[in-house]
Symmetry: C2
Subunit: 528 residues, 2 copies
């Protein structure tokens, strides 16, 4: 630590100003040392939620009218400001989450990379998907009018910080970065498990906003629990919602968003069991390697990733026995790790107990009590039929726990895949001997998920144009969009077409001669 710990004020941010909350008092908790962390924070009250949303709506017009380069500069300044928080940020985040400093250093890099990736996307400019269809006054039976279309921001976005990514999916995470890039003001509901980290990041964003001279309503951050979040989603000024978290919370927000007098899109990424299928050839040839790899992936970050593989399926037999031997021996060597919050730890313990008592499951490695609030990994064995009989076994258990499903045959394993509900990812391991079956497997895996991983594990989500992080329900509420990668910006925009508007009056992206030099479609074909 190269600095003194920063002085936290425990405040909310409304229109880029730090203000005392008027709601309940709460504090952060150190899951490693099992004690509360100062200072006291205060939740926002209903009036403050409305105020933040109204300020966001007021800033929407001025913000969207700014040249995209100004928004890019702001995002880059946010990244710089976050880096300038130094090790104090990592120390506070580690204290609030129990996540190791090294992991948080990587997450900070990713967070800043994301902000800069969206800045680069804005500077390049083609993301607005400009399409021009030129007028044809001589067309019969009627003249064809000229039409030009691009993407415009939808309005203020409510962003929910995620417990498991205090940096990359929280106050300045992918949802915020993509919404700000699109031209949407943001009201963040900070996750109550890391309010100090949230305040530090908010400080960097406020400074960047002030330095960039942007309208202050572009950024607000409110503290609070489910009540504050639900009120925010129902606030009329809010135009869209970005959420990463549990199925129950995500579905509740989705339902509120859909039931509004003016329904709004709610992008809730709710995790999944991310099944891993091991085909017979791969099982024969690489059982130990796959078993060890699975153990490493399911315990990464204490099993608290949306992409944690929670189910491994293979045909029963000697190969699967070897895989399990390698997996359990690796798991046994895996250290106990603190979970993010006492509530998450309680749910993990309760889930493990339920599985250990489940008549259709055999405990291969029941997690013992590590003491000190830390969690040990757990592994259970099931039959494919058991998963069909009890859909709850196909639900995510957050933490370092997984099920191994022994199938009677490869055909039964394929049926199991088809029977699973929507997943963020589905992984398939094969060897050359399996090749004839692989096309069918890739299709089956694609039909239930947003990302198919070949001969690997799902943890580790690249931030790039071709990433798809979001799968069929219940993995996410809208499988047509991704919450990771530059395509995430498409959640916060809608197309507008201009008919017969002279070129000089249009945004530069749509003008004759393509002054922005971006990729455009003209009469359905790439320009030039």
């Amino acid at each position: 630590m190269d600095r003194d710990p920063p002085l936290l004020r425990g405040q909310n941010v409304i229109a880029a100003s730090f203000v005392e909350g008027r709601g309940s008092v709460f504090s952060a908790f150190d899951p490693t040392l099992e004690r509360p962390l100062p200072p006291d924070f205060r939740e926002a009250d209903p009036g403050q939620i409305l105020e933040a949303a109204a300020e966001a709506l007021g800033a929407f017009g001025p913000y969207r009218r700014l040249p995209a380069a100004r928004r890019a500069d702001f995002l880059a300044a946010c990244a710089e400001g976050i880096e300038a928080l130094g090790d104090a940020l990592l120390a506070r985040a580690s204290a609030e989450t129990g996540l190791p400093i090294a992991r948080l250093r990587g997450e900070r890099a990713r967070t800043c990379d994301q902000l800069r990736a969206f800045a680069a996307l804005l500077r390049e400019g083609s993301w607005v998907e400009a399409r021009l269809d030129l007028a044809d006054p001589g067309r019969l039976p009627s003249p064809r009018p000229g039409l030009r279309r691009w993407l415009v921001p939808v309005g203020p976005v409510a962003v929910f910080g995620a417990s498991n990514f205090p940096l990359a999916f929280s106050v300045a995470g992918g949802d915020t970065a993509s919404a700000l890039a699109a031209g949407c003001p943001v009201v963040v509901k900070a996750h109550p498990a890391h309010p100090g980290t949230s305040e530090l990041i908010a400080r960097a964003l406020v400074q960047a906003l002030e330095a960039s001279g942007l309208p202050r309503g572009v950024f607000s951050m409110l503290h609070g629990g489910a009540g504050v979040g639900q009120a925010l989603v129902q606030t009329p000024a809010i135009a869209a919602v970005g959420f990463t978290g549990s199925r129950v919370a995500g579905r509740a927000l989705f339902d509120l968003a859909a039931a509004r007098p003016r329904p709004i899109p709610c992008f809730a990424e709710m995790g999944s069991v991310n099944p891993v299928f091991v085909l017979p050839g791969a099982l024969r040839e690489r059982a130990e390697e796959i078993g060890a790899g699975f153990a490493a992936s399911m315990t990464l970050g204490a099993g608290q990733f949306c992409t944690k593989p929670g189910v491994l399926a293979a045909v029963r037999g000697e190969g699967l026995d070897r895989l399990l031997e390698a997996c359990t021996s690796r798991l046994r060597a895996s250290p106990a790790q603190p979970l993010l919050t006492p509530a998450i730890h309680d749910r993990y313990r309760a889930g493990c107990l339920r599985w250990s008592r489940h008549p259709a499951l055999t405990a291969l490695l029941p997690p013992g009590d590590a003491g000190g609030g830390r969690a040990l990994p757990g592994l259970w064995k099931a039959t494919a039929r058991a998963l069909g009989d009890d859909p709850e076994l196909g639900e995510e258990l957050f933490g370092p726990a997984a099920l191994v499903v022994g199938c009677d045959s490869a055909a039964q394993m394929l049926e199991l895949c088809a029977s699973l509900h929507g997943q963020l990812t589905a992984s398939v391991h094969w060897s050359d001997a399996d090749l004839p079956e692989v096309p069918g497997w890739l299709e089956a895996a694609a039909s239930i998920s947003g990302r198919v991983v070949a001969n690997g594990f799902p943890t580790g989500v690249e931030v790039c144009p071709s990433m798809q992080h979001g799968g069929p329900f219940p993995a996410s509420t809208d499988a047509r969009f991704t919450s990771v990668g530059t395509a995430a910006i498409l959640r916060w925009v809608r197309p507008v077409a201009f008919q017969s508007v002279p070129s000089g009056l249009l945004p530069s992206a749509l003008q004759d001669g393509n002054p922005d030099g971006i990729r455009r479609l003209v009469d359905g074909r790439p320009e030039r």
Copy 2:
């Protein structure tokens, strides 16, 4: 008419087979002659709804696996089959809707053009939005996996025929064409106002399907009213919904779709008042031309277009008086026209009566009784304040009726624009004298609508890549998508990313060397 009228069977289509419905009996009605039309039709019963959806789900795998060229051939065959129905189709459609033959001939051409446009889109292939990010095994701190993403179909789509477009937005309309193009089987709920037209079109589609050798479950068509539609939307096998119609019906379907255990997207296009704003310079210079143009646009198709302009706003004064003079004189010369159905006619009459009795409205041209089920146009005058006080005045009144809003000033007119809820279109008329105000007006119009029309009227929706037909709620339930133009296909697909899958095992669109020769992004840049 160059043929005998076709023999209608009054049947439903389940998995490309004509079957007797097991529900209620109904028949079509000729709104011009005001008498029922033979034969009797029978609605589908709940079992038949489930059966059609199950067949669609069963056909989904085989259908999506077909090469895109096979789907393109099928769409082209559908267009040919519809044309081969000849004038008998137009005669039946005219009898069922009261729409003139010439209009229906144009609508048929548009319907077939749409089918062929999607066939061309499939043959060209770039619509799958292929993005490749190549592996970088040497990247630090961890290797970068290769990722390749494209769009896959979501599953069986429920399509609702629209009363006002018996061809272009019904059984083989834009929703069906785009869903079939995407690789989604379709279950159409035919609109009960034109069941015979629907049966004829279905016949063409079944023949095309049989000739193309496609899985039969790809196409079903059910007769029924709201109950059949609601049951269809709630059927688990249905993955998405396309609807064009009233706000009440659209919202009901949207709510059902969102409340399912597995929520599904519901694209409901629900119309709007499509405001026309006349700036002071344009009013001075072109009052008569604009007044006449507005009258022509609001009475086109008896005012039964989603894009009918239902509100014209301008600053009060001599110019507006001239505009109204030209508008009313043109409206007076406008012939009485039959409306699509007796129910629509009843609602039109009731709406006109409500407006004529409204204390804040002045009747400029109260529609007299034309007799014989025909409707005459109506025009009323209001103040901007009246629209603010009574939001109901901003609701669509289906039929040839409109409000003229006299504003105190251009500033009040701009406030009026900002206060309107979501619109499909917003039109702005200006002259050179108005130019300094135009950028602000274009932005205001874009902020409430999906299409901004300059110096023109909103009726007439081009089918082209840059069309946006769909605006902020309540114009549609999802402003991020269009129901007209080739981009309509994006409603029925979702991205899937393949990680570390060898090129040879990927769909050709994602393979090394780009064998399909489509536009792709590689590492974020256009290929080559």
